[in-house]
């Protein structure tokens, strides 16, 4: 059951071989057993989950089942869910029980899915190792000395350790793909604007995008079918015709042109990762794809640009956390300004404060043009690089991360080293293009390695096809640490 695909689970539920109550109970049991070690979940609420399972069973009995009806899904604790504690990994929201549902949560509810719990994450999604969470570190189930990646570290861990059939994540600079790679699972960040940001606690509004994390590309397609859709409450949500993301899964890859940016194969990538990438590319060549060399000359600027734009937006987005209407308020203070300063100093962790300060600085008087505006111009140059590359290829491939998972504590004292974890992933957020990671083997210390697949805007179905065909001829995605 724990290794079963979503499609198979759906069939079993439809054929009443198993009920959602049974399925949910099994996963809850498993979480109870393993979560103390992994710390993948911040909140589990058996009563709500089982009530949803019961309702799902009724939907199935009434013949109203949809593909995900009755299937437990782990929700990243960045999505507001009515009646659920929604912490965003922060002390600031330690007592925040959301009075409303995020667009994504609504869509899962309408689909009859079961919320199996809220997953741990880097505080306000700022981090690449899940070590900035106020609720403790999450361990990589492949090697508990290693980080699971971040910020969706709890989600990646939950799927890899088979504590949930699938999970949601969010990705601002790599927060779905990097932990997916480090935990040996599949994850996709869709084109910006496809998944509603309403109720998804904002980190950097112009970069944030929700997406699914699961065992396989096929599972991702089913999840995307639920998650993607226009939401009138999000001004950046795109109005497009609904598409079936599973429609092209079985297409042969003959003639597929894979672009290999020379900048992504330069120094910085460790040799174990390089070997695994080469092997994966060989599989693709065997499947009939051809590789073409492309260039993204401004790609190296993604990290500096990202670390101007994301903190700038974050510094403003996080101003609402002031201890007035909800969230942490300092116990003692001298006056209003002191209440603000102490509440925010106590409620936010070090990394969040650091980014707020960077963002405040780059927007402040006299520095806006040199940093914020400059970064926005470079953002356009980066997007133009990709547009040019896509004239020569259909998808772009490279490593998701330069190395396998690093050790817990290894980079937590060095922000810059931590920031460089996003070196390959942040460009897709800056451009808004879809990008995914799939497991392609193991490197040092037998830790997983991910292949990064970046597509052109709205090419999710094609990317899932590309990933699925690889997963038809390999079994990396079926490996489990448990």
């Amino acid at each position: 059951m724990f290794n079963t695909s979503l499609k198979q689970l759906s069939t079993q539920l439809a054929e009443k071989k198993i009920s959602s109550i049974e399925l949910t109970t099994e996963f809850l049991k498993r979480i109870k057993q393993s979560n103390p070690e992994y710390n993948a979940f911040v909140t589990v609420n058996e009563d709500i989950s089982l009530a949803q399972a019961k309702a799902a069973d009724q939907m199935i009995a009434a013949g109203n089942a949809q593909p995900l009806t009755g299937i437990p899904i782990a929700q990243k604790d960045i999505f507001c869910a009515k009646g659920w504690l929604t912490t965003c990994g922060s002390k600031m929201l330690a007592n925040f029980v959301s009075p409303y549902d995020a667009g994504v949560i609504e869509r899962f509810n309408q689909a009859g899915a079961v919320n199996i719990g809220k997953t741990n994450m880097d505080e306000f999604a700022m981090g690449s190792s899940n070590e900035t969470s106020y609720y403790g570190i999450v361990k990589n189930p492949w090697d508990t000395a290693a980080v699971p990646g971040g910020s969706s570290g709890g989600a990646a861990c939950a799927v890899a350790a088979r504590l949930a059939p699938a999970a949601t994540g969010t990705d601002t600079g790599g927060s779905i793909r990097q932990p997916a790679a480090l935990c040996g699972i599949s994850g996709i960040k869709p084109t910006y604007g496809l998944v509603s940001r309403y109720g998804m606690i904002a980190f950097a509004s112009s970069l944030d995008q929700g997406g699914p994390m699961a065992k396989s590309a096929e599972d991702l397609a089913l999840l995307l079918n639920v998650m993607v859709g226009f939401d009138p409450r999000d001004s950046t949500s795109l109005q497009r015709e609904a598409e079936d993301y599973a429609r092209d899964l079985e297409k042969p890859l003959a003639g597929l042109r894979i672009g290999l940016p020379k900048e992504y194969f330069a120094e910085g990538m460790s040799s174990d990762v390089a070997r695994a990438i080469e092997a994966a590319l060989n599989e693709y060549r065997k499947l009939g794809a051809q590789t073409v060399d492309v260039s993204l000359p401004n790609a190296s600027l993604s990290i500096p640009v990202y670390y101007v734009l994301a903190p700038a937006e974050a510094s403003s987005n996080l101003s609402r956390f002031d201890g007035v209407r909800y969230g942490h308020r300092a116990a003692s203070y001298t006056d209003l300004a002191d209440m603000y300063r102490k509440s925010r100093a106590q409620g936010f962790g070090a990394e969040v404060k650091r980014r707020i300060l960077i963002g405040t600085y780059v927007l402040s008087h006299g520095y806006y043009d040199a940093y914020y505006l400059k970064a926005q111009k470079l953002r356009r140059l980066i997007a133009q690089d990709f547009a040019q590359a896509y004239e020569q290829c259909d998808v772009i491939m490279g490593p998701t991360t330069p190395t396998v998972a690093f050790n817990l504590g290894e980079k937590s004292g060095d922000p810059i080293q931590m920031y460089l974890s996003d070196i390959y992933t942040s460009a897709a957020n800056l451009t808004g293009m879809p990008a995914m990671s799939i497991p392609i083997g193991f490197g040092d210390k037998n830790r997983p390695i991910g292949l990064h697949i970046i597509g052109n805007y709205f090419k999710e179905a094609q990317m899932l096809n590309v990933a699925h065909q690889y997963q038809q001829v390999t079994d990396w995605h079926l490996r489990s640490p448990v």
Binding site: S316, S319, L363
Partner: protein, 479 residues
């Protein structure tokens, strides 16, 4: 030294939409605290803004009525600062590319016309309210007003006296109500002025250091605050001092302005384009639609009243101060096209007097233009005297006899005696009974004439047409 006062105004007008600028919560005034603050207005984590079409439409309407440029795309920006009545820790406003750019407003001061240029008008959200009543030494925050759409209208420093500033503010107030984008209720804060005031030696070009006076919520306070502030600045300069650029508050009780914050500790607002909102495109077609639905503007009507109805400029400008007044006048003038001045006199006189007394607007006037016109027709055709007309008007105001002028005249017996032979008969009787006064008059005592008129009017219970009585009496005495 002679000083020149230089004034620019920033006016915040609350737009008369049903819902807020970025959320679907109601904007109605006076609801219990925080019952009109939805999750978006409260800035709960994860909520997002979506722009209200009604707010944009009103901004465009304003832009078109002042001859401004409508920017497209127009951009929304975040103005970052912390305040408990600002839930997000930033205000969504506009910085570069506001919806309305430029334009001008014509004002009348002491019979002369002047043009005040506008810099811009931008859309933004209002903040909530801090209630300073003592809650155990704390303040209470009501966020019902948070997110109410505002159009901030910024003028160039084109005004040179408090009178000009007030004339500008009044004209603007009339205009936003005229085009229906703002209810103009100053008590409820729908129309709020900030004044930028500086002084300079008369004849020089360089602007002096300015102070911004906040929270001017009546035209009277606007005038007094500017006068006080200009005097304060002139005194400082004449004493050899310098003006510090700062924000000041007007204290109506003390009739003075005081420092709120100086420029040095002013906020660094860190404006940047709001990533939650996309560029606002305003199509030429939409602009044309709004333009074609615009009412005739006050300036145009004022001119038409002067040329078309031969009204004095003063009357025309009073009648076009509000659209309701102008509409009332026009409805009457349609009934009495040859007597526009009489209509104007009645509106500016008796009607306005009663409205003020009862504290109501002309839109709620109990006597309709048609009813009043019917009454004025009876003056014109000599049925009643002007004096009697006032009695009839009072009855109409009270709602008597369905406000039917003829019925009231009939019921009260106010019809004039206009029949020459009837009047002659009465005059003859009075002359016969007052031989002494007739003799007095004929011997040159003019006063006796008035006494005789009084006797005649008394005999007719005041109903005789005074002009006729006058003429007939004169004729008879001089025979």
């Amino acid at each position: 030294m002679q000083w020149e006062i230089v004034i620019g105004l920033e006016v915040h007008t609350q737009l008369s939409t049903q819902s807020k600028i970025f959320s679907g919560a109601a904007t109605a005034y006076g609801a219990p605290p925080n019952t009109q603050a939805c999750v978006i207005d409260l800035a709960l984590p994860g909520v997002l803004p979506v722009l209200n079409q009604g707010a944009v439409e009103r901004a465009i309407k304003f832009g078109l009525s002042v001859g401004a440029k409508i920017n497209s795309p127009s951009i929304f920006a975040r103005k970052n600062y912390f305040y408990p009545d600002l839930p997000k820790g930033y205000q969504i406003s506009q910085y570069e590319s506001p919806v309305v750019q430029g334009g001008s407003i014509t004002i009348q001061v002491d019979g002369t016309e002047k043009t005040v240029r506008l810099t811009r008008a931008h859309l933004e959200e209002d903040a909530g309210k801090s209630l300073h009543e003592d809650f155990h030494g704390m303040s209470g925050i009501d966020l019902n007003r948070a997110g109410t759409p505002l159009l901030e209208i910024v003028s160039e420093p084109d005004m040179r006296s408090s009178a000009e500033a007030v004339a500008y503010a009044k004209t603007l107030h009339g205009l936003v109500r005229w085009i229906g984008i703002c209810d103009g209720n100053m008590q409820e804060g729908s129309f709020r002025c900030d004044a930028n005031v500086s002084v300079r030696p008369l004849g020089t070009d360089k602007l002096g250091t300015r102070c911004e006076i906040k929270n001017l919520n009546s035209f009277r306070f606007l005038e007094k605050a500017i006068d006080y502030e200009a005097r304060r600045q002139i005194e400082i300069l004449e004493d050899g001092g310098t003006i510090r650029q700062e924000t000041r508050l007007y204290d109506a009780n003390k009739d003075e302005t005081r420092t709120m914050r100086s420029k040095e500790d002013a906020n660094d607002y860190r404006y940047f384009p709001d990533p939650d909102l996309l560029p606002l495109e305003i199509s030429a077609r939409w602009i044309d639609q709004i333009r074609s639905a615009l009412p005739e503007l006050p300036q145009a009507r004022c001119n038409r009243y002067i040329t078309g109805f031969a009204l004095p400029a003063y009357d025309a400008s009073v009648l076009t101060a509000s659209r309701e007044t102008a509409d009332y006048f026009e409805a009457m003038a349609q009934e009495l096209p040859e007597h526009a001045k009489l209509c104007a006199n009645w509106i500016m006189g008796d009607v306005n007097g009663q409205l003020n007394k009862d504290g109501i607007d002309i839109g709620d006037c109990p006597v309709s233009p048609a009813q009043l016109a019917a009454l004025l027709k009876r003056i014109n055709d000599g049925t009643i005297s002007g004096k009697a007309a006032k009695t009839v008007f009072d009855s109409m105001w009270q709602g008597e006899l369905d406000r039917n002028a003829d019925a009231i005249i009939e019921a009260k017996g106010l019809k004039q005696i206009s029949d020459d032979s009837a009047i002659e008969k009465i005059v003859d009787q009075v002359l016969a009974a007052n031989a002494q006064q007739v003799a007095d008059y004929r011997s040159g005592k003019e006063k006796a004439f008035n006494s005789l008129i009084g006797q005649i009017m008394k005999a007719t219970q005041g109903k005789a047409n005074p002009a006729q009585v006058n003429a007939i009496l004169k004729k008879k005495l001089d025979q």
